[in-house]
């Protein structure tokens, strides 16, 4: 057990066992098809996503990377399945905070005066889904926010980059190329990457 995120950790998702790029690696390079990698991503209430890898050397989990991009709690994280192609995908969903972010009344120590610390700045409403891609094992993670406001997506007309309601869960298809997003408006949208690297809503299903 180890401390991962301040306040709380909302979700974990394991990386595929096959190392990114291992499918295309030549056997002659040696070690390319090495032991499967122990790695996962975690999503926290500190608005960030962390990548953890188990170091066989020190027998400890090491924080490998930190993905910053959300402005509110990261509710869910999903690492896309991969058979060993070089490119890795991670989807993360952020959701507006709930009651827990409103602090209760606190009593001041002086004169017993009640001070209200109710915060109103918490309503930032980050209703975004970000897809993080990494082209090569050595490349940095690149973020792309899904945009439901374009095309025929159900959130057309909404603020660009924002979903019409809270986004609860994200899940990849087994092939790792279709992302399902569940939204508080009762719809599930399916997203695919286009040839330009953008993400398009290809289908929506009402619950």
């Amino acid at each position: 057990m180890f401390e991962a995120h301040a306040i709380g950790c909302n979700a974990v998702s394991w990386a595929p066992a096959a190392r990114a790029g291992s499918l295309l690696a030549l056997p002659s390079t040696g070690g390319a098809r090495s032991a499967p990698v122990k790695r996962f991503a975690s999503a926290g209430c500190d608005n960030i996503v962390k990548i953890w890898e188990f170091s066989e050397e020190t027998q400890a989990w090491v924080e490998e990377d930190v993905l910053e991009g959300h402005t509110d709690w990261v509710r869910d994280v999903a690492w896309a399945p991969n058979i060993g192609l070089p490119r890795s995908y991670i989807a993360t969903a952020s959701q507006v905070r709930t009651l827990t972010s409103i602090l209760p009344l606190r009593w001041g120590r002086v004169c017993g005066v009640a001070r209200s610390l109710t915060m109103t700045s918490v309503y930032r409403q980050d209703k975004t889904v970000i897809v993080w891609t990494k082209d090569m094992p050595t490349a940095p993670w690149v973020k792309t926010a899904l945009d439901p406001s374009v095309s025929a997506a159900p959130g057309a007309g909404a603020t660009p980059g924002k979903f019409p309601d809270v986004v609860w869960r994200v899940s990849w298809s087994l092939a790792g190329n279709v992302l399902a997003v569940s939204c508080g408006d009762g719809k599930v949208t399916l997203w695919k990457e286009n040839l330009k690297g953008g993400w398009e809503c290809v289908s929506d299903v009402s619950s």
Partner: protein
């Protein structure tokens, strides 16, 4: 989430998430797909502190029976199934608290 408790066994269909935390640190984890596995009744997450477990996730099968759990106190537990040896589930290493930045 489908989980049935039978003595020390949990069985059910494939599930991926659960969240609970009312009981004494009890962690009702989920189940391997369509098989019944011996499972320890309770895995204490923290001593004397009860925190909700927000997410559980099985590692890829190539890695063996490993379960990662995320809890509301911001901690992550990685549990490895040790088979017939007691305790059935252990954390991967004793020095897991020592995390350091690679960057």
């Amino acid at each position: 989430m489908l989980v049935r408790r039978q003595g020390d066994h949990l069985e059910g269909a494939a599930a991926s998430q659960c969240g609970m935390g009312e009981n004494q640190g009890a962690l009702a984890a989920h189940c391997i797909r369509f098989v019944s596995i011996p499972f320890i009744r309770a895995v204490p997450l923290t001593q004397n502190v009860v925190v909700p477990v927000n997410s559980v996730s099985w590692a890829p099968h190539e890695l063996g029976a490993i379960l990662a759990c995320a809890s509301s106190d911001g901690k992550i537990s990685v549990l490895t199934f040790k088979g017939a040896v007691f305790p059935l589930w252990t954390t991967s290493s004793p020095n897991m608290t020592e995390t350091k930045m690679l960057r």
